[in-house]
Amino acid sequence: MKIRFKVTSALLTTIRIDLRRPHPFAHERVGFIAAGLAAAHDELFILAREYRPVRDDEYLPDPRVGAMMSAEAIRRARQWAMDDRVAIFHVHTHGGQGIPGFSGIDIRENGKFVPNFISVAPHSVHGAIVLSDKSAFGQVWIDRTSPQPFIAKFSEVGMPLRSWSTI
C-alpha cells in the first residue's frame, strides 16, 4: 500500500501561519489536521479537510520538549475523530526548506498518543505530520498492531500543483 497525502495550498498556508505564532511559554505550536480517506488500487489517499490548533491553555510547561499537549487537547481531537468520522493527524513544524524528519522525541511521543485515536475511530488511519517551510513528512498508524508506514508522497494542490516523494 502506497500512501499519498493531499492538502490544498490554502489550508497548508493557514497551518504554517498558525504554527508560527509564538506561545506564552511553549517553544513551538502544534495542531491537528482532520482528513477524509479514499483508496484506488494499491494507494491510500489522505485528503486534508480542516485544521484546528491546540488552544493556548492546552499546552503544559515542559522544558524538555518544544511543546507538550494536555490530555484535554488530545481528548478534544479524539472526539473530533469520532464525531466527524475523520482521520486525525498531529502536525507541527521544524521550519527550514527541505524534507523534514521526526526528532527522537517526536517518534517517542507520536508512538504514545496516536494509537489512542485508533481506539475511538478504528475505521480511519491516523498519524503525524511534520512540516518544513516548503515540504512535509509523515507517518501513519493503520491499526494498533501493524507497522506504521511513512507517507510516500505529498501533493500540495494549488497553483502550481506541487508534489514530493519522501521515501
Binding site: M1, K6, V7, T8, A10, L11, A35, G36, L37, A38, A39, A40, H41, D42, E43, L44, F45, L47, A48, R49, E50, D84, R85, P122, H123, S124, V125, I142, D143, S155, V157, G158, M159, P160, L161, S163
Partner: protein, 298 residues
C-alpha cells in the same frame, strides 16, 4: 537538445514535471481529442482517457486524429487518442478506458488534473464533484451553437478551472438547477448538437494553457479560479465578470467535509496493485495479417 527545447521557458524541471504528471481526459471527442494531441506534444507522460464511444462518420468534422479508415472499423475514440499520443510520446503511460468515466474512477483518482470535455450539465457537475472529493483540479471546456434566427448563429463556449477550495461551476452560475432540470426534460430527444473543430480547438488550447499553469507555471501567482467566455463570432476569449467578483469567494457547494469517501473503512478496504501500463507496441504478426486481410489499420 530535446524535442521540448522550445518550451524551456516553462522551467528547468518542466520536462520532468510534465512527464511525471498524469492527467485524466474525460470525453475524447471534438474537445478531448485536441487536449490529447496538445498534451502529447507538450510531453505529458500519463493519461487516463475515458470515453465509451467509437468514431462515427459525423465525428470526422472535428475529431483530431480520426480518419475515414477508423470510421470503417468503428475504432474507439480512446484508441484513436492513444495512437495520437504514442506518435509523440511512445512510452506514455496510457489507460484507455472505453467506458463511461464512472467505470474509471479508481484510475481517475490517481490523476493530478482532470480535464472534462463532456456534453451536458449533469455530467459536468458529477465530474466536478468527483474531482473535488479527491482534491483534484478540474478543467472544463464546452461549446455551443445558438440559433439567432435572422441574425444567423452564435458560436460560444467556456473554459472553467475548478480548483479545490476555489469557486466551482455552481458558484460561476454556469451550472444551475434550472439548467439541470431543462437538460433532464430534453433527455433522449436532444438530437445532434452542432460542433465544429475550430472552436473546440480554441477552448482545448486554452484548457491546455491552464493545465500548464497548474503543472509548471511560467509566471508567478496565476489565478486559482478561472472562468473564460468564448465568443466565436467576435473571435474573443475573455474573463467572465464573475472571475473578479468571486476572487475571494469561499465555495459553499463543495465543503471540505465532503472530501474523501464518506463510507471509507480501512478495516474493510483491500489494496491491489494497479495493472501495469505498458506501451501497446506492435501487434503480433497474425493480428497484423488479419487486419490487412480485413483492411483494418494495424
Amino acid at each position: 537538445m530535446s524535442r521540448l527545447d522550445r518550451q524551456s521557458f516553462l522551467g528547468p524541471q518542466s520536462d520532468a514535471v510534465l512527464d511525471a504528471a498524469t492527467i485524466g481526459i474525460v470525453g475524447l471527442g471534438g474537445g478531448g481529442s485536441h487536449i490529447a494531441q496538445q498534451t502529447a506534444h507538450m510531453g505529458v507522460g500519463g493519461y487516463v482517457n475515458a470515453d465509451p464511444d467509437v468514431i462515427e462518420d459525423t465525428n470526422t468534422n472535428r475529431l483530431i486524429g480520426g480518419t475515414l479508415a477508423d470510421v470503417a472499423v468503428s475504432l474507439p475514440k480512446v484508441t484513436i487518442a492513444e495512437r495520437l499520443i504514442r506518435g509523440l510520446q511512445p512510452n506514455a503511460r496510457i489507460l484507455s478506458i472505453q467506458k463511461d468515466w464512472h467505470a474509471a474512477v479508481d484510475d481517475l483518482k490517481l490523476c493530478d488534473v482532470i480535464l472534462g470535455a463532456v456534453d451536458g450539465f449533469k455530467e459536468r457537475e458529477q465530474l466536478e464533484r468527483f474531482a473535488r472529493k479527491h482534491l483534484i483540479p478540474y478543467i472544463d471546456i464546452g461549446m455551443d451553437v445558438h440559433d439567432l434566427g435572422t441574425k444567423g448563429f452564435l458560436v460560444s463556449g467556456q473554459v472553467i478551472l475548478s480548483m479545490p477550495g476555489a469557486p466551482c461551476m455552481r458558484c460561476c452560475g454556469f451550472i444551475t438547477d434550472e439548467r439541470l432540470e431543462q437538460e433532464a426534460k430534453r433527455y433522449g430527444a436532444a438530437g445532434s448538437r452542432p460542433q465544429v473543430v475550430w472552436s473546440n480547438g480554441v477552448l482545448a488550447s486554452t484548457a491546455v494553457g491552464l493545465l500548464t499553469q497548474i503543472l509548471t507555471p511560467w509566471y508567478p501567482n496565476p489565478p486559482t479560479f478561472v472562468f473564460l467566455d468564448y465568443d466565436g463570432n467576435k473571435g474573443t476569449i475573455i474573463r467572465n465578470q464573475r472571475m473578479e467578483l468571486l476572487k475571494n469567494h469561499v465555495c459553499p457547494h463543495h465543503p471540505p467535509d465532503e472530501t474523501g469517501d464518506p463510507l471509507f473503512d480501512i478495516r474493510q478496504q483491500s489494496f491491489a496493485s494497479r495493472p501495469t501500463i505498458l506501451p501497446s507496441g506492435i501487434a503480433p504478426w497474425y493480428r497484423r495479417m488479419w487486419n490487412r486481410l480485413r483492411k483494418r489499420p494495424d
